[in-house]
Amino acid sequence: MSDKRNVTCIICPVGCRIEVEIENGNILNLSGYRCRRGLQYAKDEVTSPKRILTTTVRLKAEAAHVLPVRTRAPIPKSKLKEAMQELKNVSVAAPVNMGDIVLKDVAGTGVDVIASRNWS
């Protein structure tokens, strides 16, 4: 049984609506794209969509404040929830520098979570 998925391409402002037909995780057919980059984007989106996760962690500081953090690289979309749960219990002591690792290998993705700003 094949399944149809719609992907909106965000590579350029055209925003092609690409229809992807999938069966057992294999792509059968793609339509609606207008360039190679769009084709690749749709393939990735359907087979292994990834996102950079940006959120905050607790900061051990005087002022009521949290520290903005991000994954150094995109992680699988399916891991976002697990990553958020892991980060819930992370707290960091000042001083922090932008780029400092806050959490290694988040949710088993192999990607580190790093600080987005300095905090002294």
């Binding site: 998925r5 719609n6 992907v7 909106t8 391409c9 055209v14 925003g15 092609c16 609506r17 609606g32 207008r34 989106e45 969509p49 607790r58 009521a64 949290v66 979309k77 399916s78 976002l80 929830k81 958020m84 749960q85 980060l87 819930k88």
Partner: protein
């Protein structure tokens, strides 16, 4: 045992509290909300009427004219901004001039000084942005404006300094007469008092019934308002009324003491005494009404809307009397317009009634007529500002940029007698959050200061008392409470950013 319990912390209750605090008696005021001025007193036109509207001989007429005389002095004593800008009842149609004449005569009988009818030219000179079709107007030089909640808060602060006790979040749920005294139940305590003054506004009919006193009804009559940005403050200087109808003075265009302009109110009898919602029809109605008087009013200049409920009694006049059924119970009900103006005169009257009813009223030696200094950083010159910041650096920390309110003023609002406990409390005492950004910038900062000063968790800070907490949860509190997978699947959504969806472009 208290000598007197006042039920209701609106302008009437607070004014009576202040008057009674001149005497050597024990007074308590019970208020169901978390602050004073939370009902009709915070949402009305705040016009100090000259007194030509009410029919001669009514309570309304007597109290209005006397209240108008007393108002400036009280504002002076309590450092409450009061502007004696005068009012105009404008006849846009030729036929309305007759109404002006009737009001003029009525006003003269009521004893209103200085009334005159002015013609088109003089009128347009006075208010150049008025509808150029305006034919004539009744000019009342004794009318003025005040900030209704600041006035009420000032009265309460002053009463508190002079020994009146205030209880908030304390709705009266039962009144029992026992051995010639009353026992008033609130959810937290039993208050024993010899006299009760029922100033419960919209709910005064229910309180009167609860005590077994005379039965009357109070109907909420909704009035909706729109407030304009200060940059349109130049449009008018005086209080501008249309010619009145049978039930209402009509939709006015009016400056505020803070330099804004408001339009409203309309007038609709409703059932729910807590329904202060603004309606679409209402907004349209007051815009139409306002533009009849000042056609230039820009819709884009509206910064907020609100609605208030007038407490209209079935007698259509104020009810100010000692109960003939229940000894020691005084009703002060149906205080609709011109109730705000009338408050000082009503309080005088209530004192007289209490004397007649046998209350032993001896003046205190140490009555303090003023309240603690009120700081208004935005109105100060730079030298004064500099001195204050040297004394207290928190004056150098501006929290609300639209109204230039400093941290020191916010802390003061919390620490003053009957200090603010919520964002609205701060807003009404300092104007923080009342400007054109409506708290977008300062509300989170004010929230932190409230939490710090009141030593509570930020999550407990409210907009206007229990149930109106600003924050729903703490840090990552909602994570793992539910399964997020359902949201993480790519789902077809109704449409794309771009009309018709990008697929159409192919």
């Amino acid at each position: 045992m208290y000598d007197a319990a006042i039920i209701g912390g609106g302008v009437t209750g607070c004014m009576i509290a202040r008057e009674l605090s001149r005497y050597d008696i024990k007074v308590i005021l019970l208020e169901k909300e978390e602050d004073v001025a939370c009902g009709t007193s915070k949402a009305n036109s705040a016009v100090i009427h000259a007194g030509f509207d009410a029919k001669p001989g009514t309570w309304k007429a007597k109290m209005n004219v006397r209240g108008n005389v007393l108002f400036p002095g009280i504002c002076e004593e309590l450092d409450v901004p009061y502007i004696n800008n005068g009012s105009l009842v404008v006849a846009v149609e030729e036929g309305e001039i007759k109404i002006l004449e009737k009001l003029l005569n009525q006003g003269r009988v009521n004893g209103v000084p200085g009334l005159e009818i002015i013609g088109h030219d003089e009128l347009m000179k006075m208010e150049p942005h008025l509808n150029p079709m305006s034919k004539a107007a009744l000019y009342a030089p004794t009318a003025g404006i005040v900030c209704p909640y600041e006035f009420t808060i000032a009265l309460a602060e002053n009463a508190a300094i002079n020994g009146v006790e205030f209880r908030f979040n304390s709705p009266v749920i039962k009144i029992v007469v026992e051995d010639g005294a009353f026992i008033v139940n609130t959810p937290y305590e039993f208050v024993k008092a010899r006299y009760i003054i029922n100033a419960a506004g919209l709910f005064s009919d229910e309180i009167s019934k609860m005590a077994g006193a005379e039965e009357y009804t109070v109907t909420p009559r909704k009035g909706e308002y729109l407030i304009f940005d200060k940059k349109f403050g130049y449009l008018i200087k005086k209080v501008i009324f249309p010619t009145p109808s049978e039930i209402s003075k009509g939709i006015l265009v009016c400056p505020t003491v803070d330099g804004n302009i408001f339009i409203g109110p309309n007038s609709n009898d409703i059932k729910d005494k807590t329904d202060v919602s603004v309606t679409r029809e209402g907004i349209e109605e007051i815009i139409e009404g306002g533009r009849k008087l000042v056609p230039e009013l820009p819709l884009s200049g509206v910064i907020t809307s609100f609605a208030g409920l007038r407490a209209v009694s079935n007698t259509n006049d104020f009810i100010i009397e000692a109960s003939r059924k229940v000894k020691g119970f005084v009703n002060v009900g149906g205080i609709q317009s011109p109730g705000f103006t009338s408050a000082p005169a009503i309080a005088e009257t209530v004192v007289e009634i209490l004397k007649e009813e046998g209350m032993d009223l001896r003046e205190k030696q140490n009555f303090v007529p003023t309240r603690p200094r009120k700081y208004r950083f935005r109105e100060m010159d730079n030298l004064t500002r500099q001195k204050l910041i040297e004394e207290n650096p928190a004056f150098g920390h501006v929290i609300c940029r639209c109204e230039t309110v400093t941290e020191a003023e916010i802390v003061d609002a919390i620490r003053r007698p009957l200090g603010a406990k919520s964002l609205d409390g701060i807003k009404r005492r300092t104007r923080a959050g009342m400007g054109r950004c409506q708290g977008g910038f300062c509300s989170s900062r004010v929230l932190s200061i409230l939490a710090r000063e009141l030593k509570i968790d930020p999550r407990q800070v409210t907009k206007c008392g229990p149930g109106s907490e600003i924050l729903k949860g703490g840090y990552k509190e909602f994570i793992a409470e539910k399964d997020m997978d359902e949201y993480l699947n790519t789902v077809e959504v109704e449409s794309l950013s771009w009309k018709g969806g990008a697929a159409d472009a192919l």
